[in-house]
């Protein structure tokens, strides 16, 4: 028997990994905080400067020599390298400039040159914003600030007789933020606890002491660095939260490595390398192309992003759960203004999905069973004719179906008239409107289910039926005891997925009913589309999509429990 392996190396690795991550995160926060504080002060100062200039120019009459004099006077107080310009929209004029290049032929006043188009555009932009703010009561910022490499570019509107006639535009050097503090301290916070663990090789050989030593030293290192950083940055609650989070991340890593999670994960990877090699290529594309956009959508759902603030950083328009609350709040089928509520749409969506999948699966399965009958004539011809609805682009067939239900020209109403019935306005009632979409989608989806069922039927060994017949089982008994259970493994995935697809079947609803009458036949996905592309409320639409996802996820988990579809045989 060999001596059990010492836990000391593992503790050392855990401590190193945890400390490195936690201290690196803390240090990154410290750097951002100190640079951010500096930046904020410098920015406020720059905004103050441009605002003062705009005031001074306005008081000097906005144009002419007086305005130029005000510009020069303002320039005298500014740090070296600052450039101020006064741009008048009418005639695209450079009314005044303190740019050292604007002398001689280029001296103001003059018309703006081609490479100064940006200055004119900025003045126009500011004028538009001020106008809109006044007319429609918006609160958009009336000073533009842009942080560029080594400088600020600012702009503020200049008014004359109450109307914006131009803008002052300032280019102001920005001092680089002071060097980030604390690299030596951070290195020490990582190195010292590690050094302290080095001599404890003996004492920390067993599991308990090794873990305890790693945790104590981790706490000492991270805690020490955090205390020092907080004092330096003068951080309040935000600093405590950020540092606490980094400490927690590091702690999780320490525990993961020290308790052997990392070793086990590695071992699993090695042991199941064939399985992973088979499975991972298919997942890679999905990870990149599906889960990134998905995460983006989820993050967006917590913001109030709309068309008007797409360029704002997400933290500024963060609204937490507000979108979700707004979606789920009205607990009734109708909104106060009479339009269908989220719950109406959800209920309709569920009914739509259940009926569609039932029709698709039963029709598809029955046809497959018939087509699987041995000795039945013309089977290949039937098979091909029956998949045609799937083969034709559904954009045109959906519109043909819509046309067939037209009040005046629809063949469905002609057929009703043939039998002496009154023509119907199919899209005026929720129920009949739903029927049109159901007919269209049922027609579109049964061929797929038929093909899947046909394939699944091939997996049933013929000798099973032989044996059953010998035992005297009736046809129905054979179907229940052999066909259905054998179909399950291939059919269940198709059913689960078609539930998911039908739930989000945008095209058919959009093209056939268009939500008529008055939005009652919308499904959640068409509703989300309207919020995004007709109302430009991207955050809200993303929340809607996330709710759709959560509903389907709940269904998927439940269905999987029931059918054990992810399990083996």
């Amino acid at each position: 028997m060999t001596r059990p392996a010492s836990h000391w190396p593992r503790a050392l690795a855990a401590l190193a990994a945890g400390l490195a991550v936690a201290v690196a995160l803390s240090w990154a926060w410290l750097r951002a905080a100190s640079a951010g504080g500096y930046e904020e002060r410098a920015r406020a100062e720059a905004v103050g400067a441009v605002t003062r200039l705009a005031k001074a120019v306005e008081q000097a009459g906005a144009e002419g020599d007086a305005a130029r004099a005000a510009l020069s006077a303002w320039q005298a107080d500014q740090p070296a390298g600052t450039v101020g310009r006064l741009v008048i929209v009418s005639g695209a004029r450079l009314e005044g400039s303190t740019d050292p290049r604007d002398v001689g032929e280029r001296a103001a006043p003059r018309r703006l040159l081609r490479d100064e188009k940006w200055a004119y555009d900025q003045a126009q932009r500011l004028r538009g914003i001020v106008l809109e703010n006044a007319e429609q009561g918006f609160a958009r910022a009336e000073v533009e600030v842009e942080r560029l490499e080594g400088r600020y570019a600012l702009g503020a509107p200049v008014r004359k007789d109450g109307a914006v006639v131009g803008a002052v535009e300032v280019d102001r050097p920005a001092k680089p933020p002071p060097a980030a503090p604390g690299v030596p301290a951070a290195l020490a916070a990582v190195a010292l606890p590690l050094l302290a663990l080095l001599p404890l090789r003996r004492a920390a050989a067993r599991r308990g002491p090794a873990l305890a030593a790693a945790l104590v030293l981790y706490a000492a290192g991270v805690g020490g660095f955090a205390a020092w950083a907080l004092r330096l940055a003068g951080g309040g609650g935000e600093g405590v939260r950020a540092l606490g989070l980094s400490a927690a991340v590091g702690l999780a890593l320490v525990l993961f490595v020290a308790l052997g999670g990392a070793a086990r994960a590695r071992a699993a990877l090695v042991r199941h390398r064939v399985a992973y090699a088979y499975a991972i290529p298919a997942m890679l594309g999905m990870l990149v192309l599906v889960f990134f956009p998905f995460l983006y959508g989820v993050v967006l759902s917590f913001t109030g992003q709309t068309l008007y603030n797409t360029s704002a950083p997400l933290t500024e328009i963060w609204v937490g759960l507000q979108n979700y609350v707004e979606i789920l709040r009205t607990f009734a089928f109708r909104m106060p203004d009479g339009s269908p509520s989220f719950y109406w749409t959800l209920a309709f969506n569920v009914i739509w999905t259940v009926t569609n999948v039932s029709i698709g699966v039963s029709v598809g399965l029955v046809l497959a069973l018939i087509l699987n009958t041995k000795g039945l004539a013309f089977r290949p011809i039937y098979r091909v004719l029956l998949i045609l609805p799937w083969a034709m682009p559904n954009y045109i067939t959906a519109l043909i179906w819509r046309g067939m239900f037209h009040r005046q020209f629809g063949v469905v109403n002609y057929a009703r008239m043939l039998f002496g019935l009154e023509p119907l306005s199919w899209f005026d009632e929720t129920f009949t409107s739903y029927l049109t979409a159901l007919a269209t989608n049922g027609w579109l989806s049964f061929p797929f289910m038929m093909v899947v069922s046909l394939g699944a039927l091939q997996s049933i060994p013929a000798d099973l039926y032989e044996a059953a017949r010998v035992d005297g089982a009736s046809r129905w008994q054979q179907f229940k005891a052999i066909t259905l259970p054998s179909l399950k493994p291939a059919l269940v995935p198709a059913v689960i997925l078609s539930v998911v697809w039908t739930f989000n079947m945008f095209n058919i609803i959009f093209l056939v009913t268009g939500g008529d009458p008055s939005g009652t036949t919308e499904i959640l996905i068409t509703q989300a589309y309207k919020y995004a592309f007709q109302q430009y409320r991207y955050g809200y639409a993303a929340a809607y999509s996330t709710v759709i996802f959560l509903i389907l996820l709940a269904y998927g988990v439940f269905q999987n429990r029931v059918t054990r579809a992810t399990e083996g045989i």
Partner: protein, 400 residues
């Protein structure tokens, strides 16, 4: 220092000339005759002597065009120039980094080139963002066999339409998509109605109510068919069962060969004090993409594409109605009765709003039109639509 600044000045003056040897990519949504006419314009531009620029085109299906622009242009992967109607303009401007403002390049001579209302359609927040290429609006199309002299006023229209209507035989004096808000806007604008007032929705303005009530009176008079879908109108006109139709140039291609037809302006509304009916115009603009690296070359092409020679080709071969006002003096264009009629119509037309919020108007307005055409209370229906649009607009703008 002095020398260097002089050099910089020289470079600034010279560089645009040097940098303009550029490739300009143009995206459009044309096919058929419009596409060939536009490609002819591009070829003519490329073949101009001394022209260093090379323009290439890409046709994108209309249904994908706006999405493609919104995805590609802000990421710097799009074209240098693109062509689209003004209804998406406001949205693209607000989204940012999509459309380049071109106010700076404009002078009075250039502005004078265009029919004023088409340039107005290109104006957003006080700046011009593109040059108008062509316009579409509805006018009066009539069957010359049934209508000898087209009506000048709505009183004449009503009398004539009643005379020509035989409901039993399925004959109607007038047919148009009156339940469609786009078509109804012609009546509404005649009364001085509008959808937005200084950016605020005003669907229930008293002028709008009057227009809706006039429509109800027309429906009651019985000279228009029920449920007027575009397919119904086309087939009625082609069978000689509709004497007059309000529709745009897109309708003309669907008229059956046997019908002898003509286009003229919509009548003036007697009920609105003799003011002309003022349809909405949809204006296609040529825009420079904001991230384009060849903006000077791009704008050079934009100017060319909206100039006289190009307009002549687009009018005579592409069957478009150019926004260039000067082209209507061209003998060949002036001799074309259809182009001349639409030109007369656009002179009184109103550009359709280019505010992004316009997309929120259609669905509530359609609901209101449904209730109005079924004989419901016009004021109440419009008030309901107004409440819905106002709420949606407020929801969007609270983020502003």
């Amino acid at each position: 220092m002095r020398n260097r600044s002089l050099l910089a000045l020289l470079a600034a003056l010279l560089l645009p000339g040097l940098a303009s040897a550029a490739e300009v990519v143009v995206w459009h949504a044309y096919r058929g005759a419009e596409k060939s006419a536009f490609e002819k314009v591009v070829a003519a531009y490329n073949a101009r002597p001394g022209n260093p620029n090379k323009v290439t085109t890409l046709a994108v299906p209309y249904d994908a065009f706006a999405d493609k622009i919104s995805a590609a242009v802000p990421r710097g992967k799009g074209p240098d120039v693109f062509i689209f109607a003004q209804d998406r303009l406001g949205g693209w401007i607000e989204a940012g980094n999509t459309v380049e403002p071109i106010d700076f390049f404009l002078d009075d001579a250039l502005k004078a080139r265009f029919i004023p209302s088409t340039l107005e359609a290109m104006t957003y927040r006080g700046s011009v963002w593109g040059l108008p290429l062509n316009y579409k609006c509805i006018a009066l199309v009539y069957n010359k066999k049934l209508v000898k002299a087209p009506p000048k006023s709505s009183a004449e229209l009503e009398a004539l339409a009643k005379k020509l209507t035989q409901r039993g035989a399925g004959r109607f004096g007038l047919a148009y998509s009156y339940a469609d808000y786009y078509y109804h806007a012609a009546l509404q604008n005649a009364f001085g109605g509008r959808v937005f007032d200084a950016g605020k929705p005003v669907l229930d303005a008293s002028e709008n109510v009057k227009a809706a009530e006039l429509l109800q009176a027309w429906i009651k008079a019985g000279f228009m068919p029920a449920e007027p879908s575009t397919a119904l109108i086309t087939s009625l006109f082609n069978e000689g069962k509709a004497a007059m139709v309000f529709s745009g140039n897109w309708f003309l291609g669907e008229i059956a060969p046997g019908i002898d037809w003509a286009v003229t302006t919509l009548p003036a509304l007697t009920e609105a004090g003799g003011k002309p009916m003022r349809p909405w115009t949809t204006v296609e603009g040529v825009y420079v993409a904001a991230p384009s690296k060849n903006k000077d070359a791009a704008f050079d092409f934009v100017k060319y594409a909206t100039d006289l020679d190009a307009a002549r080709i687009m009018a005579l071969e592409g069957r478009q109605s150019p926004a260039n006002a000067k082209v209507y003096a061209d003998p060949k264009v002036a001799a074309d009765p259809v182009l001349a009629a639409f030109k007369k119509q656009v002179d009184v037309a109103v550009p359709m709003p280019n505010l992004p919020e316009m997309t929120m108007v259609w669905s509530p307005a359609t609901t209101a039109m449904g209730s109005i055409t079924r004989g419901g209370d016009a004021k109440g229906a419009l008030a309901k639509a107004q409440a819905k649009v106002a709420a949606d607009v407020a929801n969007l703008r609270k983020s502003k």
